[in-house]
């Protein structure tokens, strides 16, 4: 299933958070969205998981405007890992993961055997099966993040959007999660702050600045010293990864001021 932004504009309180964003994520493709804080990345994602309706343009799945679907219908196609995924009540890990089935079930309809197996498999894939009976509020930030990813997988979406999924994760689980995204066969749009991880994990990158898409393409073409300086305001040297050949950024701290 293909995800596309078609001239999407979001205006909140008179401010243009996203301006005429057009971006296509092909079926099974992993596209990374990068950009400085406040550049509109999360706002763009929120339009995909229906927390926000675009003020102009449309987000489409397979040419169908999301707003023409009911919230439940689009939740069956699109799953999301949101930022600050707080949980108020001390559900068990298993309960939270099972809530991924909510868009597929009516009212209080119990989970079928297949769905329970799905929950177990997702917990296993995200390495949280041993926490199944634990309360989510007793987990560490990284463990909770993995639980929420498992919940999104249980939704059985065709499109997965993730807002900084590597937050709080240790390096092993960061790599594990990105490998999982690559291998899941889903259409993935992911916001990442770590440009090196983004370069390694994504087929293409979109760079946002001030709500506008300023560059898009394969990581090797997009991540140049000039763009990083212009968009992020930092000095970086781009070198090829010795094994994979992908672009890697080495940052240079500005020299301390001398007086």
């Amino acid at each position: 299933m293909e995800l596309s932004f078609d001239e999407v504009t979001v205006v909140v309180n008179g401010r243009n958070l996203v301006e005429s964003l057009s971006l296509r994520v092909g079926s099974g493709e992993v596209v990374g969205l990068v950009g400085p804080n406040g550049s509109g990345k999360s706002t763009a994602l929120r339009c995909v998981y229906r927390a926000l309706a675009p003020s102009g343009g449309a987000v489409r799945v397979d040419r169908l405007a999301l707003t023409s679907l009911t919230p439940r219908e689009s939740a069956r196609a699109v799953a999301a890992l949101t930022q600050n995924g707080t949980v108020d009540l001390d559900f068990t890990v298993e309960e939270v993961v099972a809530l991924g089935r909510a868009p597929h079930l009516r009212g209080n309809q119990p989970l079928s055997g297949r769905e329970r197996a799905l929950v177990a498999r997702a917990m296993h894939r995200l390495d949280v099966a041993h926490l199944a009976r634990r309360g989510v509020l007793t987990l560490s930030g990284g463990e909770r993040q993995r639980v929420l990813v498992a919940r999104a997988l249980v939704q059985e979406p065709e499109i997965l959007v993730l807002d900084e999924p590597t937050n709080h994760l240790d390096v092993r689980h960061q790599i594990g999660l990105l490998a999982l995204l690559r291998g899941a066969g889903l259409t993935v749009l992911v916001v990442l702050h770590d440009l090196n991880l983004a370069a390694a994990a994504c087929d293409r990158l979109g760079v946002l600045a001030h709500g506008r898409l300023v560059a898009t393409g394969p990581p090797g073409e997009v991540l140049t010293a000039g763009l990083v300086r212009e968009v992020f305001g930092v000095e970086a040297t781009v070198v090829p990864h010795p094994l994979t050949g992908g672009p890697q950024l080495l940052y240079t701290l500005p020299a301390p001021p001398t007086n």
Partner: protein, 335 residues
Amino acid sequence: MVLVILLVGSVLLAISLGPAPVPPGDTARFLWAALSGGRVAAADATTYQIIWEIRTPRVLLAALVGAGLSAVGVAIQAMVRNALADPFVLGISSGASVGAVSVTVTGGLAGLGIYAVSTGAFAGALLAAALVYLASSRGGALSPLRLVLTGVTVSFGLQAVMSVIIYLAPNSEATSTVLYWTMGSFGAASWAALPVVATVVTLGAVLLHRRSRTLDVLALGDETAASLGVGPDRHRRLLLVLASLMTGVMVAVSGAISFVGLVMPHLVRLVVGAGHARVLAIAPLAGALFMVWVDLIARTLVAPRELPLGAITALIGVPVFIVLMRRKSYVFGGR
């Protein structure tokens, strides 16, 4: 299941006991006579009257209100995402008090006879809830925090209105009405009011239970809820209407009984976990059981005088709650 048996047993016991205790066997005989249309010996007529006309509706009302307040408490806490919320957080109890007092003072709604004050209370409750809703919604969005803050503010405002009314009121009846409404009592229970309360509470509790997965999803935060196909504002609006109707009806017949709706949800979650399907199945039963006993204590402890229900719910509930909370690590919202 155990709770159901306990509840039925407690209801029968509570009907038997009172300032003039009746042996349980006789109670059962009278109840059976009433239900099957049988005859009662002339000598027993007074006792029968006490059992059937006074105590039975009263105990049943206590059970219903206990159940309703607990269910609404669960829903409100999930809806406004606040552990300190209770059914009265949205200004409903002060609205009911103002409504009741206005009717008492002005003599309005006189055409409704003995239901005038209850009707006034119900109308006041719903008006307060509507006011809170209108003041806190902005462009269709209904933020939980804004709901709570507006509710608390409106409550203060309504209490001020009430103080002014009482101050200016020509009679002392208004004062006692206020006392009655803020402390809560089942003293006015009658068969006439029961069907309405029973219908609203039962239907409301069932509807809430059917939404338990939605409540679970809302507790994951608004963003995640949206991504799971649960529009948070739309569902909060629905829950607000349902909770206001239920609370309004209960306040109209029994006043604002504090504490049950706040603590019962927490107690039940401590025992059965946070999943709303279980919490909303157990909380009404536990709340009913609790309230039947509270009412029994209220009317027998210093009989023939009656203690205010709110005082007893707090005196029993607080220690139980503290003990349970210390025994098991319990968290709400990670705090």
